[in-house]
Symmetry: C2
Subunit: 319 residues, 2 copies
């Protein structure tokens, strides 16, 4: 479940009270502990390494703050060629060694019982934060940057892509069993612009990684790109909740594994209703070539019993 | 062009400096002047009455503030049955008489040379603001309200629908030549929830209005509902920029008028590039059964020359 290691869990909130965001990400013992918390409680079929997509810009020497009640804040956003030129290309084994340590510790804790998934943000989604400087309803400054300074934008996207490839390869070498690319803001772009400013970079990552581990690609609002994604070397495609399962199957040709797609706010419904929705979702996707998931990250105020209903419905399915 | 009477125009900014938001909406002389400003400058084929979708909650006795650098703020959001019960049902001719006066004045200024379009928010989109209390990336509280208290939500949606029907009928009686329904946040809902919490109410409005004036329905992010919209009595359907023109034609059966869909941030491109994109867009939609528009509202910092390039490209098309 996307963001399964996180704020809806009381055991996570306890650690959150003691350690700030990047301390949690950068301390292998904490990151691995947080990763296995939801698995201990609910018994999922896979663990997702606790981390954040913004560790990449941080490693590129771009300051990233996590402000309470605000979210990510990048005080010196990049909005011109000079800014792109200043971006440094780190050695990921050095700059992100804490992630690799967290992976090794997590694998030990999991004792090979379930696989571990690592992830990265898509280059476009990272550019959104790096240029906008914070979350946004429209990421208008990020799009303005791409549309007024396309050459600088492409240089930045290529730099992020190169680092991400090295990062995900290092994660696989450290022990993750699969990787997922999150293109959370891909749906801000029209289909042609998505091709130019997002997909070609996602595809580079998929091409570089697919020989090393299964790659899952998820683009929120990217229904229009599903046919293209299905033709790539990705092993699975994440689908958000605005796309009906049958439509997603049709758009992807019916042979690739799909992942998704319950509306995260539907977990506000009663446990009985949640179980019904999960059963209907599995029926609609079909139980083969399918990974049950939400259509985006779980929200912090979802009651534990509601999350439990989601997992129980999956385990009880067909029995 | 959506939001064509607004902040990208210096003549609008002059009035904005003198009068606050709701004074501009509620003073017929100002609203009509603002409405004709872009027509005088660019010579569009239709005027769009300057107003705001939030005049409806205001008329329902729900306080709405427009905060600078923040947007709409509703200090007492409705989140339970008691709140829904407190909503008053106004006589629109009385509570919104200023809109009708603005329409009459605008019609005089336009001297019947071009039609005037009036609009309203969809009941779901208005509920988003009424429940959330402000703009949001996810409108999670609005969705939570619908999913945990569906009966109260449906009562609120029906109240908004009834007022909106009376409001749009009064607008037609006052002189608008067509009406548009803006379902700006319809794309936050999955297809089944859209049907339940948005479309059935939009369709009530379309059914009630279509005998009186052409109705245009626009739902941002609502590509999945295009087939349903095409079966309704709407005269035209607005399309956002994430849906290719050819896909929109296919999803709507090819016979209904479509409107859209340039990415508003694509107006940051150079005038030459904008003209190329507009020509390609018209080619792709086909020049018949088509209304050129943006895929959402124009942004306040778009240069005038760029907006002009958009209009010039339409006028020059085919010549």
């Amino acid at each position: 479940m996307m963001r399964q290691a996180g704020r809806f869990l009381p055991e996570f909130m306890e650690l959150r009270g003691k350690y700030d965001f990047f301390t949690r990400c950068q301390t292998p013992e904490l990151a691995s502990e947080i990763t296995v918390q939801p698995v201990r409680r609910f018994g999922m079929d896979a663990a997702i390494l606790f981390s954040d997509i913004l560790v990449i810009p941080q490693a590129m020497n771009i300051e990233v703050q996590m402000k309470p009640n605000f979210g990510p804040y990048l005080p010196t956003p990049i909005r011109d060629q000079a800014g792109v030129d200043r971006v440094t290309m780190p050695d990921v084994d050095d700059a992100l060694s804490y992630v690799m340590e967290a992976i090794k510790l997590t694998k030990e804790k999991l004792e090979d019982e379930i696989p571990l998934i690592g992830f990265a943000g898509s280059p476009w989604t990272l550019l959104c934060y790096i240029v906008q400087g914070q979350g946004s309803k429209t990421f208008d400054k990020a799009r303005q940057f791409c549309f007024t300074q396309p050459e600088a934008a492409h240089q930045l996207l290529q730099k992020i892509t190169d680092i991400t490839i090295a990062y995900l390869k290092a994660k696989v070498a450290a022990g993750v069993d699969a990787v997922q690319i999150f293109d959370s803001w891909g749906g801000m772009l029209g289909p042609d612009d998505y091709q130019e400013f997002s997909w070609q970079y996602n595809n580079q990552i998929i091409e570089a990684l697919s020989a090393h581990a299964p790659v899952i690609i998820f683009g929120k609002g990217c229904w229009f790109a599903l046919p293209e994604m299905a033709k790539s070397n990705a092993s699975a495609i994440g689908v958000d909740w605005t796309c009906r399962p049958q439509t997603a199957r049709k758009l992807t040709g019916g042979n690739i594994t799909l992942q998704g797609n319950l509306d995260p706010t539907r977990l506000y419904s009663s446990p009985t209703k949640i179980k019904k929705l999960v059963r209907e979702m599995i029926d609609a996707f079909g139980k083969d070539k399918y990974i049950v998931n939400l259509g985006h990250g779980i929200l912090p105020d979802i009651p534990l019993d509601n999350a439990k209903a989601f997992f129980d419905a999956v385990k009880e399915y067909g029995s």
